[in-house]
Amino acid sequence: MKRKILIGYGNPDRGDDGVAWHLLMKVLATFGFTQEDLFRDEIISANEGLDLWFNFQLLPEIAELIAEYDIALFIDAHTGEIKEEISYNPIVPVFQNSPFTHHFTPASCLALAESITGHYPQAWLLSVRGYSFEFARELSTRTLRLAEKAFEKIRTDFLE
């Protein structure tokens, strides 16, 4: 069985920026984890062959970690620079620079994984449009509806 990892990132205290957190919590609930703390550990095992990782942002050190997986799904929010409200696309290793430090992308993560280990997982990026980024733990109504659709995508492609 192929090993899969769901990688969510964003700030759950900033409204829709935390959509990945909400989606990963829903994944855990699917497997009977109702009170799990996504910040508890580096990797949280949801089910045999399915792991979860969550943080505020992508970090270079997860490159080594994801290299051990066959399939990876990155989950994040966007502010509208992507045309589709729910974007779901394969990603390939391409390192992307930024003048502002600590900005690390999924494609960069794959590139680093490949460079360090020679391997990277088959990967996709699931991006959900966010509309409100105020201090809140809840999703906006619009993003909540989108998240429900996004979860269906996760369920059919990664949980079944």
């Binding site: 700030n11 920026d17 620079n97 003048p99």
Partner: protein, 476 residues
């Protein structure tokens, strides 16, 4: 040719986007360049009404990049507000966590973010001028970089009990002691981390020897310098008075963080949302100063750990013990600080009190107001709370490191633009250098969220009517 305005505008996630605007004269030379930042606001309102003991858990959530710095500064402010100084063991443990933060943040910055600029060159193709290109050039180096950052992250996890959002420090102390096994695990890696850091220093020095001309003309300018110090004016990253020195290196002020409002004021420019802190007595802009590695190593007289002090002496002798003004030496200073932090970890772990069990002072003598200060990786971080008698926060003021360095980043961009733009033709290498000028300061702009996917650098050349006549784009 009419006078033109060039705008470089990376797109970020929320309201905070930063951009660079370059105004050209008619002859193509730079009249002035500006680095604009949208200041993040809202956290003060968010914190009002919260209980003081919640603040060390709330404030780290503002910024996903440096949560530990906010966590510790917040707890320190709470110590003063509640009148409950922490036991010695708690202070040692907090400082240990902080050293982990310094090591991982600085390590990542040099090896993975700024290192490629230096090792692969400013004019290298952006496709390889990154850590992947660095790996291809030196695979071992990249692995060492990952190891150094992991070491810092593991310290935070071992001390705080969890890798992210540690609920560790609180007013009066901490809630977790250190085990002997964890202490020994950290100690066992010190020598390797020192060796990795010294590798980084060698890389920088070799690069500097071959690129002295660039170093001497790349964003070199005078300013004041500020950072925490020990009573003997040694480098201090966790606890101490704040020392401000002038452009000649002579002390202007040495003050308790609780008195910062007597010393620092904030100036407003109409072209930026972010304010410009300055030394009140000298006014603005004469009183501007820099913080962070360059600022700190100019504000101190020595470093109390042997290897770092040796490097520090060599570093300051470059300019005959006058302040180092070269922006690119932020990287050199950052490496020296990593060395200090690693050595300091050993000092802390060798202290028998680090394993103590007296970690929380529960006796309160309520004061109602307090300022917690810490030297975050990027510079001096201040958390100022005013709390009512019920323990509820009524007012919060926070000065972050990037705020202190706002003037310096803009000045660096202006200097780089004037040095490297000499005519109407704008070359790709300019974008690299502008990026490098900003990157040297290691600015933290996200403050709570991050940008997805691309963070393009867009340079619009506009005429004086605002029409875009040319666009350059760096698709990150």
């Amino acid at each position: 040719m009419v006078a033109q305005k060039i705008t470089i505008e990376p797109v970020t996630r929320i309201e905070g986007h930063a951009k660079v605007t370059i105004h050209l004269k008619e002859n193509g030379e730079v009249e002035h360049a500006y680095f604009h930042v949208n200041e993040f606001r809202g956290f003060e309102k968010f914190c009002e009404g919260r209980m003081i003991f919640e603040m060390p858990s709330i404030t780290p959530r503002i910024c996903g990049i440096c949560p530990v710095s906010h966590h510790l500064a917040s707890a320190k402010a709470g110590d003063i507000v509640m009148g409950c100084p922490p036991p010695r063991t708690a202070s040692l443990l907090r400082e240990l966590m902080h050293m982990g933060q310094i090591i991982q943040s600085h390590g990542m910055h040099f090896f993975e973010l700024a290192g490629p600029d230096l090792i692969l060159g400013f004019d290298a193709d952006p496709a390889v001028r990154n850590v992947v290109g660095l790996i291809q050039a030196d695979a071992n180096l990249a692995l060492k970089a990952v190891a150094l950052r992991k070491f810092g992250q593991e310290i935070i996890r071992m001390v705080g009990g969890r890798r992210i959002h540690p609920t560790f420090a609180l007013p009066g102390g901490v809630n977790k002691s250190l085990t002997t096994a964890d202490r020994d695990a950290m100690l066992s890696e010190i020598d390797e981390m020192i060796a990795i850091t010294q590798t980084g220093l060698k890389i920088f020095k070799d690069w500097a020897a071959a690129n002295q001309e660039d170093i001497n003309k790349f964003a070199v300018f005078s300013s004041g310098y500020m950072g925490l110090v020990t009573p003997e004016n040694s480098l201090e990253l966790y606890q101490g008075d704040i020392r401000l020195v002038g452009s000649d290196g002579k002390q202007l002020e040495k003050y308790d963080s609780n008195d910062y409002l007597d010393v620092i004021a904030e100036h407003v420019e109409d072209w930026s949302y972010l304010k410009f802190p300055y030394y009140k007595k000298m006014g603005y802009p004469a009183g501007v100063y820099r913080v962070g590695p360059l600022g700190r190593l100019n504000a101190v007289d020595q470093i109390d750990t042997p290897l770092a002090n040796q490097e520090f002496k060599e570093y300051r002798e470059m300019n005959a013990w006058k302040p180092i003004e070269n922006t690119l030496h932020f990287h050199y200073a950052r490496l020296i600080e990593i060395l200090f932090a690693v050595e300091r970890v050993r000092v802390l772990l060798d202290d028998p009190d680090i394993l103590g069990k007296d970690i929380l002072n529960t006796r309160h003598h309520f004061k109602g107001e307090g300022v917690g200060v810490i030297e975050a990786p990027r510079g001096t971080l201040l958390h100022h709370y005013i709390v009512n008698e019920n323990g509820q926060v009524e007012k919060v003021n926070l000065i972050v490191s990037t705020g202190h360095n706002n003037w310096a980043m803009s000045e660096a961009v202006d200097s780089v633009a004037k040095t490297y733009i000499k005519g109407p033709e704008i070359k790709e290498g300019l974008l690299n250098r502008v990026e490098a000028a900003i990157r040297a300061h290691d600015p933290c702009l996200s403050c709570s969220t991050h940008a997805i996917g691309q963070m393009p650098l867009v340079l619009d050349i506009k005429d004086t009517s605002g029409n875009i006549v040319k666009t350059l784009r760096r698709d990150a």
